[in-house]
């Protein structure tokens, strides 16, 4: 057997059209007005648009309000423990090349308790699409400071205002080595769909930071980027490679240093694709290791292999 030879060719394609009804599961437990509803809606729309059958995807999550996501999508899914969803998703991704792994979570899960796993998932470039719903606060535990809470934010654990420098998610992802980094806003549904589609078409560790408002504990946090609330949703102007003089000024998504500079803009910053690289995935490296190793050995059966090893131990 090999990681590339799963038994999925036997699964008959679904003849019926994938509708929103078919991909909807439990009604979300989120508070009315929560930004995560819009992220879920954007995800449904993406699945519908791309007609991804239930058997071709898996939705995984750690712990947090947004990490409840898998219950609301009618697909195979797992609700794991706090902060460890990236390695769980890595296991599924590496063993099952036939599946597209979607991972959902929040800022606490991804940047705090799971911060180290984020770096290593990025470094190893394991193929998956990870949507981080960033609300700048711990919502499920009712208003404690999060790793992205701005300095001065008054929470139950910082009643006089947060004092610790917040994580800059885009810079963290760039430093970690993520090969697709996007940023979007839960009030911009078309932009979200666009980001999710580009992320899932990327062969590698693709992450989207999605500003998603916690109406209960941090209302209005993202109004400065919401045109309907008087803010500005500033898009990254990507290079078109058309040779025009104005293209010189546009952002080259393969330019890591330019991405750092974009990520340094003051809040609310810019939205769109910061960085994209075609660095090979761990999935590809491991598949190649299997193929070359087995070719060298002459593709023996499992029994022949182990018997051969034991013969050398006599």
């Amino acid at each position: 057997m090999s990681a590339t030879e799963n038994n999925v060719s036997t699964i008959a394609p679904q003849p019926e059209k994938l509708t929103k009804k078919a991909i909807t599961a439990d009604h979300p437990t989120w508070c009315p007005g929560c930004g995560d509803f819009a992220v879920l809606a954007a995800f449904y729309k993406t699945l519908e648009k791309r007609q991804l059958p239930h058997e071709s995807i898996v939705t995984l999550a750690g712990i947090g309000c947004s990490s409840r996501f898998p219950y609301f999508v009618n697909s195979h899914g797992a609700h794991f423990i706090h902060g460890r969803a990236v390695p769980l998703a890595s296991g599924v991704s590496l063993a099952r090349p036939d599946l597209h792994v979607f991972l959902f979570g929040g800022d606490g899960d991804g940047f705090s308790i799971g911060g180290n796993h984020l770096d290593h998932g990025a470094r190893k470039n394991i193929r998956m699409t990870y949507v981080i719903m960033d609300n700048f606060v711990y919502g499920l535990t009712k208003k404690q400071t999060s790793p992205t809470s701005p300095i001065g934010y008054r929470s139950k654990t910082d009643p006089t205002g947060a004092m610790d420098q917040p994580v800059n998610p885009i810079k963290k992802l760039l430093a970690g080595g993520a090969t697709f980094i996007g940023r979007t806003h839960a009030t911009q549904i078309n932009h979200m769909i666009q980001m999710i589609e580009r992320a899932m078409d990327h062969d590698g560790f693709s992450v989207i930071e999605c500003l998603s408002e916690c109406v209960e504990f941090y209302p209005g946090a993202f109004d400065p980027a919401n045109p309907r609330k008087g803010g500005e949703f500033k898009l990254i102007d990507e290079k078109k490679w058309d040779g025009t003089p104005e293209d010189e000024l546009r952002h080259d998504v393969t330019d890591e240093l330019a991405a750092y500079r974009l990520a340094s803009q003051p809040f609310p910053g810019v939205f769109g694709v910061f960085f994209e690289s075609d660095r090979p995935t761990k999935n590809a490296f491991e598949r190649k290791l299997v193929e070359t190793t087995r070719a060298k050995l002459g593709a023996p059966s499992d029994l022949e292999l182990l018997q051969g090893t034991f013969n050398r131990m006599k």
Binding site: T10, H76, A78, S90, G91, A95
Partner: protein
């Protein structure tokens, strides 16, 4: 090489090795016990001691039995020749090796020279040993093989016989059963057992003495189409393994105690979400970083209870190097059938000890690793209250159109989160009942010795050998001593109370502390389970394996 030679000659063999926990090295010993009969432990006393250095002589001369032979390098060691208990054989090992190798090799090759000496003294099969030398060094360049063979020949032709009055020889045993013997250490046996059991994926983090298992799996699994991931930490390692298992391929993670401590939350998830998983703990000594290169059996309580909430899991322990292979098969069988995490406890003495055992019949053992992705229909429930969970891996078509989510939140039969009191009670009972069902299926282990008597020694893990040997020795003196070895520690097999009833006292022998209330970890569990005041405890915490005489001293009045 002596161990492998014994394996090829159908002799029983067992080795014992200590290594220092520092990279710069330090004193290390390697002990080999070879017998024509059954060899159960590495032995309490040595018949023959080889000392290359003064400190090795000083540290280990006490281990030599009276009348035993000290073979020493007269270029390096000055023994106390006045001590008339021992026979002294001084050979200028350093000088002769340098001479034999033309003086260019400094003092390398001394061990091969001594192998030649030992071959001569014990009348071992020199041709077989030369074959082994060729195999061992054959991968390197030809001159290394030739140098090694020259060193061996020099030792073998040295007239050591003149210095020894006693002659040693092993009885030549007739070829026993039809199966060849294989020779390996416990970590190798465990790693290959996992492969035979159909485990193709795993993840780990380096820690002594578990690392060699992950090293073997990292290079072996790609040959079988699988892979092993070196994770960024222990938490990621267990999570990756759970990702593999969730996706349909039963996976392994492992560590020693410190790493297992870090994995416990995710193992609790495996209990709750009912995901099959193999967790290897190659135990070392002490809490915290403890004794990294010594042996102890002090992680039993952690394996059974080490998680928050009621989180049933299965705990097995390997008895011997051979059993490291078979315990992996049993663990994988249970994990799949009961969709549960299963601990495999080994320890640092088993991990590095080399034993020869009958080659397993792989044709009847090898298991297909592929997940069952056939469509599920007819009211499939991920968590049926009446029945054992068998998950549909992702990618499986659910013909009724409802796709399952596996979860660590308390849930109903469909996997929807719920905190309903009656459901939590019912689900807690469901997760417990499947292990009660397993307990009913585990065969009751056989008593070694008479089925009734004064004392029943109860052991688990690597104390198997010394306990059996203690029974043999005690019975020579007409003591009514028997023993019982437990491979399944949680759940315990049903019916142990009937075995215990036939003995006056039950002595649980284990390498851990007697605890606050005077009982070792298994003894505590057995006393809680059977409320039997006959259950006593014999423990030790010196970081070394049990010697037979320590057990005898512990049970004799």
């Amino acid at each position: 090489m002596l161990a492998r030679l014994a394996g090829r000659s159908d002799q029983e063999v067992m080795t014992y090795m200590t290594i220092p926990s520092t990279i710069s090295g330090g004193p290390s010993i390697f002990q080999v016990r070879i017998g024509s009969g059954e060899v159960l432990s590495a032995g309490d006393e040595a018949d023959f001691l080889v000392a290359f250095y003064q400190h090795s002589y000083e540290d280990h001369i006490g281990f030599l039995k009276e009348g035993g032979v000290l073979l020493y390098d007269s270029d390096q060691v000055q023994p106390d020749l006045g001590d008339k208990r021992f026979v002294y054989v001084g050979v200028a090992i350093t000088g002769l090796t340098v001479e034999a190798l033309g003086g260019t090799a400094k003092d390398k090759g001394k061990n091969i020279f001594v192998l030649g000496l030992i071959a001569e003294i014990f009348h071992l099969d020199a041709e077989k040993l030369k074959d082994l030398i060729r195999e061992r060094f054959g991968g390197k360049n030809e001159s290394i093989v030739n140098t090694a063979l020259m060193a061996f020949q020099a030792g073998y032709s040295y007239p050591v016989g003149g210095l020894l009055t006693t002659r040693y020889a092993f009885e030549v045993r007739q070829e026993t059963a039809g199966r060849d013997q294989v020779t390996m250490d416990g970590n190798q046996a465990l790693a290959y057992g996992l492969i035979a059991a159909g485990v193709r994926y795993g993840a780990g983090y380096p820690i002594t003495p578990w690392s060699t298992i992950m090293e073997i799996l990292r290079s072996e699994l790609p040959k079988y189409g699988g892979l092993f991931v070196q994770a960024e930490d222990e938490l990621a390692a267990v999570s990756l393994a759970l990702g593999f298992s969730y996706s349909g391929y039963l996976a392994v993670t492992g560590s020693a105690g410190p790493g297992i401590s870090l994995k416990t939350e995710a193992i609790g998830w495996a209990s709750m979400a009912e995901i099959p998983l193999l967790v290897v703990n190659v135990q070392r000594g002490g809490p915290s970083t403890g004794l990294p290169t010594n042996v102890e059996q002090s992680d039993l309580s952690q394996a059974i209870f080490g998680s928050h909430g009621d989180s049933p899991r299965v705990v097995l322990a390997a008895a011997t190097v051979e059993d490291c292979f078979y315990i992996a098969l049993e663990a994988a069988r249970i994990a799949r059938k009961y969709s549960t995490p299963v601990f495999i406890l080994s320890d640092s003495s088993l991990a590095t000890r080399i034993e020869a055992f009958d080659e397993p019949d792989l044709t009847s053992i090898m298991r297909d690793p592929h997940p069952d992705l056939s469509p599920r229909s007819n009211g499939y429930k991920p968590y049926p209250l009446e029945g054992i969970t068998q998950h549909a891996p992702p990618g499986t078509r659910m013909t009724e159109g409802k796709y399952p989510v596996v979860t660590g939140l308390e849930h109903d039969e469909m996997g929807h989160p719920t905190g309903h009191p009656s459901l939590h009670m019912a689900m807690t009972a469901k997760r417990r009942r499947k292990l009660q069902q397993l307990a009913a299926e585990i065969p009751l282990p056989e008593v070694y010795g008479d089925a009734e008597g004064t004392t029943l020694l109860v052991g688990w893990g690597s104390t198997f050998g010394p306990i059996r040997e203690a029974v043999d020795r005690a019975r020579e003196r007409q003591k009514g001593v028997s023993s019982l070895h437990l491979r399944h520690l949680h759940p315990l097999p049903n019916g142990l109370e009937n075995v215990f009833a036939r003995f006056n006292q039950i002595v649980v022998v284990e390498m851990n502390d007697q605890g606050l209330y005077g009982y070792g970890q298994l003894a505590t569990i057995l006393r809680a389970r059977f409320c039997d005041p006959k259950i006593r405890s014999l423990t030790k915490t010196d970081g070394l394996t049990f010697r037979v005489k320590e057990i005898l001293q512990g049970i004799l009045p």
